[in-house]
Symmetry: D2
Subunit: 309 residues, 4 copies
C-alpha cells in the first residue's frame, strides 16, 4: 500500500464519468486517470465534490475507488472522500474505501446536523482512531456550512489525528495560519488548497499542494504552475494562474436562471472533458440540470481561448 | 398497506433509542411507540431529525422501520424519512423504507450540494415517480440550508407530486401561504407544522397536523392541544401550548460552550424519555456530546415543572 | 406630551411621501396621516423602514416628525424611529425626534459594526438613560443582521429600560417567549408584531399591537382584524388576515431581476397610496429603482382584488 | 487639491483617538498621523471602519477630516469614508468631507436596506456624478452584508465611475478578477486590499496598494513589506507578512464571551497605540466594551513578540 508521506504537488479531485443511464463509466474513468497521470499529477483524489460524491450511490462510490486503485496500481497515492453527515455513516464509507485499497481518507465536518467544534474534534478523532488511516480534513463551508477553525485543525495536526487539510473554504488567511502553525510542529502534515484560482499565492505562502477541480480539464496547466512555483519562478506561475483563472470562468456557463452552481460547474467540467475527447458522455447525476447546446458552446469557447482545443 | 389519506393530527417524529454501544434498542423503541400510541397520536414519523437519522447507519435505519412497522401492524400510518444528499441516494433509502412497509416518505431538498429550485422540483418529481409512494416535503433550512419556496410546494402539490409538507422552517407566513394555496386545489394535501411552539397558531391558520419532536416526551400534551384546537377551544389550546413552550426550554439544557444544538436538544429528549421510564438508555450517537449530570438535572426540572414526573 | 402608556392596537409605520425631486411632501404626508387616523389606527410610527428612514437625510427626518407631531396634536401617540449604526449616532437622531415632540423612540440594535449581546444591552440602556424617553426595541434582522434574543429583551423589559418591542424578525416563537415572559413582570411593556401576515396569530398569542407596513395601504383592514381578534371572533380575524395576506403579495410587484426587495415593497406601497388617491407622487428615494408601468399594474390588480379601488 | 492619481502603496485606515469623555482627541490624532507619515505611508484613509466611523457623530467625523487634511497640508493624499446607509445620506457626508478638503471618497454599497446590484450601480454613479470626486468602492461584506461583484466593479471602473476599490471582503479571487480585469481597461484604477494578512499575495497578484487597520500599529512593517514586494523580494515580503500575521492575533485579545469583534479589534489597536506612546487614551466609542487589564496585557505581549515595545 502506498501510504502518502507528506503529500505534495497536484492532486486533482477526479470527476466521475457516467454512462447515459447514470452508471459509472469505468472505461472513461480509466481514460481520465490516464490523462491526469500523463499530465504529471502527483496523486488522485476520488469521491470529492467534483466527483459528484454527493450524488453517487454507495455501490457507485465503491466502483470508483475499486477502478482507480486497481488501475493506478500504487503508481501514485489515491485519496478517497468519505462524505456523509456524521461519524457512524462516514465510518461505513471509510471502511469501504479502505477495503478497496484507498491510501487515505478525505473527511468533512459533520453536516445537516447542527454541530460544534467539540463535536467536530471528536468526529475526526473517532474516524482516525477507528480506521487507522491517514485522514485529511476537507474544509468546504459552501457545502458543510461550518468553517473549520485553524485552531482546531492545528490541534488535530499536532496530535497526529490529521494527515493534512484540503482547504476549499476560500479563507486564504485561515489556510495561511495552518501553514505557518504546523511548521516544526506536525511533520508530514500536508496543507493543500482546493482553490482553482489562488494556487500561486497558496504555494508562495507555503502550501504543499493543490487539489483543483479544474485540474481535471487542464492537468498540464496546474502541473506547470506548480513546477514554476517550486522553482521560484513566480512570474511564470502568475501568468499560468491567470490563464487558468480565465479558463475557470467556464463554471458559469450554465444559466443561473435554470440551474444551480453544482449543475453549472460540474456540467462544464464534464462537457470540457467530453470536448477534449477524454470521456464518452458529459452526463451528470440527478437532479442536476444538463447544460444545453448554447451553454456547451460557452465551455468550448473557454477551451479554445485557453488553447485546449 | 395503510396509505395515509389526508394525514391529520399529531404525528411525532419518533426518537431512536440506542443501547450503550450505539445500536438500535428495539425493545425501547417498541416501548416508545406504545407510549406514543397510548398518548393518542395519529401517526408516526420515523427516521426524521429527532430520530438522529443523520447519524444512523443504513442497517440501523432499516431496523428502525422494520421494528416500528411490524409493531404497529397498520394501526396507524408510519412515515419514514429518506434523508440523504441527492436524488439517487434518497431513492436507495426510499426503497429500503418502502420494502420494510413504510406508508409514506419524508424527503428534504438536496443538501451539501449547491442546488436550485429547478433541481429541487426535479428531485421531488423523480422521487415520487420512481417510488410511487406518497412523498412529504420536509422543509428544514437549519439542516438543509435551502428554504422550500411556497410557490414550488404549491406547484408540486397541485401536480400531485407531494402528499404533504412537514414545515420546520420557522417561517409561519410561508406555511400559511401553502395552507391557503392548497385549498380547493390539492385535495388530500397535508400541511403539517414541525414546530413545537406554534402549534395552536398553525392549527388556527388551517394546518392539518403537527410533527413535534417534543411530542416524544409529552404526546398527551400535544394530543390535548390538537383536540382543543379542533373543538375551537382556543383558550385551552393556548394554555396547553404555553405549558409546552416552557417544557421545550429543555432543549437548551446542554451547555453551548461544550456542545451544539443537536447534542443538547436530542440529548434532552432522550434524557426525558429515560427519566420518564420509557427508554432504557439516554445515549445519543457519535459525535454528539452526552449531557452531564448537571444538564440532566435541568431536563428533570423541566419535566417536574410541566407535571411530567 | 402624550406618553404612550401600554401602547396597543394598530400602529402603522407611516410611509414618507416624496415630491418628484425627492423632498418630503408634507401635504401628502398630512393626507396620509388623516387617512390612517380616519381608518381607526391607535398610534403612528414615523421614520421606520417603511418610511424609508434609511434613505432620508437628517433634515428630512426632522421634517417628518415635525409635520406629523404638529398635525396630530396629541390625538394619538407618535413613535419615531432613531435609526443609525451605533449609540452616539442614535442619540443624535433621538434628540432631534424628541425635540420635535415625538412621544417615544424606536431603536434597533447596532448595525454595520460587529456587535454582541453585551453591547446591545449597553446600547439600549444608554439610549434610555440619556433620553429619558420610552424606548421600543426594533427587531429587524433582515436589516440589522442581528436577532434580538428574547432573554435580552426580557431583561431590559424587567429593568424598565424598554417600553416595548416591535418584532419584525419573523421568529414568532421568539415573540411568544417575550409575550409570555413579560406577563406580571413588566407592566406596560408592549409586544408589537411588525408582521403583515401573522397578525391574528400574534394577537391570539397575546401580542398587544401590530405595526404593519401594509397598514399604510389598508388601515381599515388591519383595524377590523384587530377588533375582531379583541372580541375573540377568530374566524373573522382569520378571514380578514387571509385577505390581507393576498394583498401583501403586492410587495413582489417589482421584477427581482431589476430591483431589490426594498424598491419593490416600498414602491408598491407608494404606488398603492397613489392609486388610492392618498399621496400625490409614488416616488421613492435613491438608489431605489422605480416600478415601471407593468409593475404598477400588478399593484393595481392587488388593490382591485382586495376591493380597494 | 491633491487628487490621487493612481493611488499606490500603504494607505492605513487611520484610527480616531478619543478623549476619556468620547470626543475626538485632535492632539493624539495629529501625533498618530505624524507617526504614520514617519513610518513611510503613501496616503491616509480617515473615517473607515478602523476609525470607528460607524460610531462617530457627524461633527466628530467633520473634525477628523478637518484635522488631518489641515495637518498633512497636501503632503500625501487623504481619502475620507462617507459611510452611511444610502445615497442621499452618503452624499451629505461626502459633501462635508470634500468641504474639509478630502481628496477622495470611500463609499460602501447601501446597507441596512435590502439592495440589488442595479441599485448599487446607481448608488455609485450618483455619488460620483453629484460630488465630482474620485470614489473608491469599499467592499466590506462583514459590515454591509452585500458582496460587490467583480463584474459590477469592472463595469464601474471602465465607465470611469470608480477610482479604485478597497477590498476587505476576504475574497481574494474576486480581487484578482478585478486586478486582471482592469488591466488596459481602466487606467489609474487602484485595486487596494484591506487585508492585514494577505498583503504579499495581493501585491504578487498585482494589487496597487494596501489599507491595513494594523498599519496604525506597525506602519513601518507594512511599508517594509510593500517595498520588498515592489522590489520582487518575495521571500522578505513573506517573512514580514508572517510577522504581521502573528501581530494581527492581537485582534482576538478581547474575551468573546464579553464583547464583539469590533470592541476586541479596535480596542486592541488603540491599546497598542497607547502602549506605544502614540495616543493619550485607548478609549473606544459606545456601546463598545473596553478591554480589561488582562486583555490589554495580551496586546502588550503581541507587541513585545513583534519587537514593537
Amino acid at each position: 500500500m502506498t501510504r502518502p508521506t507528506h503529500l505534495t504537488g497536484v492532486v486533482p479531485p477526479v470527476c466521475t464519468p457516467l454512462t447515459p443511464d447514470a452508471e459509472v463509466d469505468t472505461a472513461s474513468l480509466i481514460r481520465l486517470v490516464d490523462f491526469l497521470v500523463a499530465g504529471g499529477v502527483d496523486g488522485l483524489f476520488v469521491l470529492g465534490s467534483s466527483a459528484e460524491a454527493a450524488y453517487l450511490r454507495d455501490e457507485q462510490r465503491r466502483a470508483v475507488v475499486d477502478t482507480v486503485v486497481r488501475h493506478v496500481g500504487g503508481q501514485l497515492p489515491v485519496l478517497a472522500g468519505a462524505i456523509d453527515m456524521t461519524t457512524p455513516r462516514v465510518l461505513d464509507h471509510a471502511r469501504g474505501a479502505l477495503d478497496s485499497g484507498a491510501d487515505a481518507l478525505v473527511v468533512t465536518a459533520p453536516f445537516y446536523t447542527r454541530t460544534h467544534p467539540a463535536e467536530i474534534d471528536r468526529h475526526y478523532r473517532e474516524v482516525a482512531a477507528r480506521t487507522g488511516a491517514p485522514v485529511y480534513a476537507y474544509d468546504l463551508p459552501v457545502a458543510v456550512h461550518t468553517k473549520l477553525g485553524h485552531d482546531l485543525v492545528l490541534t488535530l495536526a499536532a496530535d497526529g489525528v490529521l494527515a493534512g487539510l484540503k482547504d476549499s473554504s476560500g479563507d486564504e488567511t485561515g489556510l495561511r495560519r495552518v501553514i505557518v502553525g504546523v511548521r516544526g510542529k506536525a511533520a508530514g502534515f500536508s496543507a493543500l488548497t482546493g482553490s482553482e484560482t489562488m494556487v500561486d499565492s497558496a504555494l508562495a505562502m507555503g502550501a504543499h499542494g493543490v487539489v483543483p477541480g479544474l485540474g481535471n480539464v487542464d492537468p498540464h496547466g496546474y502541473v506547470r504552475l506548480y513546477r514554476s512555483a517550486r522553482e521560484g519562478d513566480w512570474e511564470t506561475a502568475r501568468t499560468e494562474q491567470e490563464r487558468l483563472l480565465a479558463l475557470f470562468g467556464m463554471v458559469r456557463s450554465g444559466d443561473p436562471a435554470r440551474m444551480g452552481m453544482s449543475s453549472s460547474a460540474l456540467g462544464a467540467f464534464k462537457a470540457a472533458l467530453h470536448l477534449r475527447g477524454v470521456i464518452d458522455c458529459p452526463a451528470t447525476m440527478l437532479p442536476q440540470i444538463p447544460l444545453d447546446a448554447e451553454e456547451v458552446r460557452r465551455v468550448e469557447k473557454h477551451l479554445a481561448t485557453a488553447g485546449l482545443l
